[in-house]
Amino acid sequence: MKHRAVAERVFGLVLRLYPAEFRDRFGHGMTSAYRAARMEAAARGRAGVAAFWIGVAVDALVRAPGEHVMMTLYDLKFAARALWRAPVFSVVAIATLALGIGVNTAIFSVVHAVAIQPLGFFDPARLVRIWEKNDRLNIAQFSTSVPNYLSWREHGRSFAELAAWRSGTVTLTGTGEPHRLGRMEATATLIPLLNVRLRRGRNFSPAEDRPGAPRVAIIMESVWRDWFGSDPSIIGRSIALNGVSHTVVGVLRDRDLVGTAQVLTPLAPDLSREARADHRLSTIGRLRPDITLAQAQLDMDAVAQQLARQYPESNKDWGVRMATFDDWIVPPEMRQGLYLLLGSVGLVLLIACSNVANLMLARAALRRREIGVRLALGASRLRLVRQVLTESLLVALVGGTAGVLIASWGVPALRAALASSLPRAEDIAVNAPVLIFSLVVSVLTAAAFGALPAMIGSRNDMTGSLREGSRGSAGAQQGAARRMLVVAEIALATVLLTGAALFVQSFLRLQHVELGFNAKHLTTAMMGLPEARYPTDLARQQFYRRLLAEMQAVPGVEAAAMSSGAPFAGGNTGMPLKAVGANALGAEDMQADWRLVSPQYFRTLAIPLLRGRTFDNRETGTHGAHSIILSADAARRFWPNADPLGRQVQLGNKQIFQVIGIVGDVRNLSLDLEPRPAMYFSSEQILWPTMTLIVRSSGSSPMGAVMRQKVAALDPQLAVFNVRTLDMMLQQSAAQPRLTAWLVSLFAALALALAAIGVYGVIAYLVAQRTQEIGVRMALGARRVTVMQLVLGHALRLSIAGALVGATASALLAPVLSSQLFGVSPHDLLTLVSVPITLVAVAALAGSLPALRATRVDPLVALRTD
């Protein structure tokens, strides 16, 4: 007896494995078959019973999944046929989803490549970037000096290894034309720290990383390929860098290194020649396995404090800042910007889902008879829900496939557009993780737009729906659901449009920011004179002087100048500075950017000279006058109420300079950063290893070719690099905000169009449903205006509700945007008010088409139909 009860329970459980529909049809028959078979088996003894239960288990495991697959295939076949029979619905729904899923796939491919995919280094979580910082001077991160790096190595306890490098350029000669290559002077610990394997050869030995050691170099694979034809005997070969022979000891894959260097040479730190205040070294470390970033920070804080006590002259107020490689390579604000983009395409997809849900509800209304018949024939509600969801899934999968195709078409363009403004942009691709994302999004999308129609559509009152043309409670529910969806769509579109409006304003403000100089018709080119051929400052200065004279003589050149760095060229040089004598800051120093410039620099860039004079032949040679020109901001900070001319300032290196002129403030680094205090020295006295030639032409024709030609005429061995117009550099600086503004606007336009289609659909359906009522009203003498008002009133009520919800959501969400915006508040009242009004206007316009149609209803026709 007990055995039988257990067996019955097991039979029940086995049946549970089958689809509900199958169970309903055949459950009883199967249970009786099992029961009878068990009785027969029992007659054959224990072995028979055992064989029976094994058979039951095998049967359930093999047959039940098969039935599920069959059921799904039937559903899919049925769904495909249903969609085929409604081509307009299918095309519109699939196209809407393809757009929604397509933009999501494209943006996710960017987010995945830049922010999600782990860095290509071994155990990247333990890799940290280490900077110095100075809170008093408001310097968040700064390079370190060689002596400080060596002290960190000596006293830091948190690192398995530390490595450092100094970036610069070298000229490679002896391989045809001279070429400028990016160079890292790196410690021998860099390659072991990153744990990369060389493509060929070996790393620097510790002995080679010492002063006076034989000169060696590691070249990148691209250099090996491009300049040495992938010569297999490259190891041991001698190459000329800056005219000095170096032995190649290794070849490294380009992507295996941090930064964009093409050649690696040993740093060979020489303490006797390095100053502790000379901050030019980039440092990274690998944390010991038992140490967290926070513990390492504490450790390094202690080291920095100790160094500040030991070397107050150079290290007072300097601390240490650390960040993981993840945060260094993709800064948190950039990450946030990417997730914002992903969020905005998510909103577009939600709107697309609402639209498709709306279409499906309209279709469900048309299919009420069919559903009624099926319910009457005994189909379960669950079955119908499953059928509608299968149809949704099919639409979403087809839409998703089309979306992926759209994305794979758009991604190369996106990659090219982002290459200069995003790290790791070269990895952007529609790859396996992106495809999985698209699949998951498609399935979720199906659930999102299919659930509501499935629930409401299957809740069909049978008798009502069988009577043609009747309106049951399901119809009323559908109406309410559709109106709700439109309100949601308009709310979502409002949020997106608000974001887009803010981004566009932010971008436009950036474009109209006061630069402090005139960027039109300026061309820049960089060069560096190799020490081997230009051993003295005098030789170098003579070269530059001759070059400038040659350039000035070119017809069409208005002015030409040299500088240690052009604005917006990337990179910056700064130094602490204090005023001698009475001043507003007292003995405190101020961090200021510095540039070495030729006398014509200010005229060439059209930077206004506000007081005093620019450099002339008084500032020539090392014995010339120690003169300095300050920016207006720097002068104002020291002497807000006094004449700065003739006053003295002391640099971080103790040298005293006299102020001879005050010039306008200039934005040097980025459009969204306020101009910083700046100081200028004469390039006739001090030179930088690489100098930039800046030429202003009278017309818009670029001067690059002439500049190369003139340099080559003076020295054919000299490499000219980074030839760019300042306009190009400015565009580059605004590339990311431009792209963000452009993309978000595109998404917002898409959202607006979808929302308008949504409103149109609902109002058109409403008009169709109420044709009879409208006919009666008109037969009873209602004027067209009244009918128009009636219909438009619906559209307006829906859109105002949506816009209000959207405006509230925008106001709440706005603070998220604040770090991404420039010159415009995320709570900009004009935007927060005008966007919802725009949406209401667009919605009213979309609703006015069916409203117009309603006014043309012929009462006789309307009363005859239905």
Binding site: G29, A33, V58
Partner: protein, 130 residues
């Protein structure tokens, strides 16, 4: 002429003669079920017993195989379900019978097997009947 009707979650068609060949070769389980129903309607367990008896117990269909086959055969229109049953029987028990289309398909399958057997005999693979 094709005449389709929709029943529950799937469609099936009474097919023209040309559609019979589309069913061939018939899965063995289908053929066994058609044979079991050849001389009259039966319920599921009776089909299982009949198949086992006819094959001296060599073919024993599991309930999963039986009802999975029945579902597919219903969908294909090879069998159908009786709406009337003996008065004293359990009303939940379902009876099945072969449709005209099912008979046509069974005949075609038998022809196919016969032809196959003749080929096997012609090549001497199988001894001729004495």
């Amino acid at each position: 002429m094709r005449h389709c009707i929709e029943v529950r979650y799937n469609d099936y068609c009474y097919m023209a003669d040309s559609d019979i060949t589309r069913q061939l070769p018939l899965p063995p389980a289908f053929f066994h079920i058609l044979i079991a129903l050849g001389d009259g309607e039966r319920h599921g367990y009776a089909i299982m017993q009949d198949v086992a008896r006819r094959t001296d117990g060599k073919v024993r269909m599991s309930p999963g195989t039986l009802y999975g086959s029945i579902r597919r055969m219903l969908d294909e229109g090879l069998i159908d379900e009786l709406t009337r049953r003996p008065d004293d029987d359990d009303e939940r028990r379902r009876y099945y019978r072969v449709t005209r289309f099912g008979r046509a398909v069974a005949a075609a399958e038998a022809d196919r097997l016969r032809a196959l057997l003749q080929h096997a005999r012609a090549t001497g693979l199988v001894p001729r009947r004495s």
